[in-house]
């Protein structure tokens, strides 16, 4: 007797027995199937989330750095960040002059204000003061009208460029270009509109009004710290650019050599890692649920295998009397358990893929499933069958042949 015969004969018996108990097989597979379906749907949705988030991050600029007072992902003393010296227009000018990597440098200063046009208004809109480099740094485009230039800044012109959410709210039926809007106590003339960017992490990027940097300071004061957006030619240049920027900023701010940086250089990819931590936790919980379902399914398999062993006690006795070794009996029942589970796995895979597809149809999430996941589904289910079938199989093999033959 060799293992090949054990496996050949075992699979033949397994298939025969499953065909003889179609309904029972089907019911048993449901548990495993739901477990595999849950796992696959979760995998698919998370893969989809990751790709759609990666796309969103790209819209923040994949080759952009932001010099700010404090880092996006804060670890340590928040008051240490607060007490740092403010970043100013002069720093932005210095970076523009000294950095050899920067292709655009945009100072940015923001506050939230109500924006009105006639009887329409929009509360808490982000009003950003900046320069024309803003477009290149952020990846926005001008869809209508123009951006403001240096002369607008020099003369503190009250001109504004609107994000699409603001256009939608204040100008549902009319052309915004040339229209007078009210921001706080001043009236601005709309000169252009921005392209639509959509949401990042559920926050709209289009609820924004841009005005010249110094116009912003003259209306809202110059006491707040600014952010400096820097774009570089390619993402590969980011690391070198960051090193250089650290040097430039320390020089501009005259940071003593023994002191740590008193500013932060933020990169959108840092957001990705925060995001990954967040979804990682969610993913863990969901996978846990999937595993519990599989555990329940596995116990179902174990139960049905114990029933099967009991029902077929006489058969086991006959096989042993005719020369089957214990190992042969173990292989027979383990294969049976694995086959039931694999069938469940196949059903679950179909269900899981269907579920992921449905999610991608009814939600904006693109649920993608890699082809390998299918094999994973079936293989994993078979593994569950192995784990939960092995004990009933050993019980079957341990039966005393004489007793088994006498079993009613």
């Amino acid at each position: 007797m060799n293992a090949r015969i054990d496996i050949l004969e075992g699979s033949r018996i397994a298939l025969k027995s499953l065909r003889a108990h179609r309904l029972r097989t089907l019911l048993t597979t449901v548990g495993i199937g739901i477990g595999v379906a849950t796992l696959l749907a979760i995998l698919g949705i998370t893969q989809g989330l990751d790709t759609s988030f990666a796309k969103q991050l790209e819209s923040l600029g994949s080759s952009t750095l932001y010099i700010q007072k404090s880092p996006w992902v804060q670890m340590g003393n928040w008051w240490e960040f607060r007490n740092r010296k403010d970043l100013t227009w002069a720093h932005a000018e210095g970076v523009r002059r000294l950095s050899t990597y920067a292709t655009a440098v945009a100072p940015m200063v923001s506050r939230n204000e109500e924006v009105k046009f006639h009887d329409l208004s929009m509360a808490a809109v982000e009003i950003s003061g900046t320069t024309s480099d803003y477009l290149q740094v952020t990846g926005f485009e001008i869809t209508r009208g123009r951006f403001f230039g240096e002369s607008d800044d020099d003369s503190r012109s009250t001109v504004a460029v609107l994000g699409m959410d603001v256009v939608d709210t204040l100008f549902p039926h009319s052309d915004p270009i040339g229209a007078p809007i009210r921001i706080g106590d001043r009236v601005y003339t709309v000169v252009g509109t921005l392209s639509r960017k959509g949401k990042i992490l559920d926050e709209s990027q289009d609820e924004i009004v841009l005005i010249p940097f110094h116009t912003h300071q003259s209306q809202f004061g110059a006491q707040r710290s600014i952010a400096i957006g820097v774009s570089v030619a390619t993402p590969d240049a980011l690391d070198a650019a960051e090193d250089q920027l650290v040097g430039i900023m320390r020089r501009l701010r005259q940071t003593p050599p023994d002191k740590p940086d008193d500013f932060a250089i933020n990169r959108p990819e840092q957001l990705a890692s925060t995001y990954n931590q967040l979804t990682g936790a969610l993913f863990g919980v969901a996978v846990g649920i999937g595993f519990i379902t599989l555990l329940v399914g596995g116990i179902g398999i174990m139960n049905i295998m114990l029933v099967s062993v009991r029902e077929r006690t006489r058969e086991i006795g006959v096989r042993r009397a005719l020369g089957a070794r214990k190992r042969t009996i173990v292989v027979q029942f383990v294969l049976e358990a694995m086959t039931v589970s694999a069938v469940g796995g196949a059903l679950g895979t179909a269900l899981g893929l269907g579920g992921a597809k449905l999610v991608s149809l009814v939600t904006p999430l693109a649920a993608t499933v890699k082809p390998g996941t299918v094999f994973f589904g079936v293989g994993f289910a078979a593994l569950v069958g192995l784990v939960f079938g092995i004990w009933p199989a050993f019980r079957a093999a341990q039966l005393d042949p004489v007793e088994a033959l006498r079993h009613e």
Partner: protein
């Protein structure tokens, strides 16, 4: 000597009590013999059959089968001995209900690792031998009791064992069908097969060349079938 049993004891422990099914059986059987084992219910006939068939191991004593010391073999070796040396025929047939007659007969050959084509041919041959050439693809529930027992005998023959062991093979059959099965055994004996047959019918034992009487786990008579069976009628 095909079978050599000496001082065979088999003790079952039920709770704290010990049941002595065999108390020291000495028995030798030559190749080609046809031996009936008779005795009252509970005398230990089936226990002895199971020991001879290597389904059960004796508590004490030595057992040589074809010169091999079977009492000291491990479980895997015993399975191999059953597969090659023994052909079982049971009172209640013990066929696998979902398999055809042919598949049932092939089973010992499957566990011996015989190739499918050879297996089919030999199983077919065995079925022809027991007169079931036209029932090869029937399942047990499509066969009469006598036909089922013929399938079981074919299965016992297919592996060409040294020994046929039958425990009350006619016990579940009417007398006419039982007679056919006994005729079949007679033929097999004439062809040279070694047969050990357990029965409680003195008439049947009387037809065997040799009979062994068990009583309370001991051999109490051993001789020509007619004599041993007659004592039973007198007793």
């Amino acid at each position: 000597m095909l079978i050599q049993l000496s001082g065979i004891e088999r003790t079952y422990t039920v709770g704290t009590e010990k049941v002595h099914a065999l108390r020291g059986v000495d028995l030798s059987i030559d190749a080609g013999e046809w031996v009936a084992i008779i005795g009252q219910s509970g005398s230990g006939k089936s226990t002895l059959m199971n020991v001879i068939g290597c389904l059960d191991t004796p508590t004490r004593g030595t057992y040589f089968l074809n010169g091999k010391d079977v009492a000291r073999m491990d479980d895997d070796s015993l399975a191999d001995v059953r597969n090659r040396e023994i052909g079982f025929v049971f009172q209640n047939f013990q066929l696998l209900p979902r398999e055809t007659a042919l598949a049932n007969v092939e089973l010992p050959l499957v566990y011996r690792g015989v190739k499918a084509a050879v297996r089919h041919a030999r199983a077919q041959e065995a079925l022809v031998k027991v007169g079931l050439a036209d029932r090869v693809h029937h399942r047990p529930n499509e066969l009469s009791g006598g036909q089922r027992q013929r399938v079981a005998i074919a299965r016992a023959l297919a592996g060409e064992p040294s020994l046929l062991l039958a425990d009350e093979p006619t016990g579940n059959l009417d007398s006419a069908t039982g007679e056919e099965i006994i005729k079949l055994f007679t033929q097999l004996h004439e062809q040279g097969h070694t047969i050990v047959l357990v029965t409680h019918e003195p008439k049947l034992a009387a037809r065997c060349p040799r009979a062994v009487r068990l009583s309370d786990g001991l051999v109490v008579a051993d001789g020509p079938g007619k004599e041993v069976a007659l004592i039973s009628v007198a007793a």
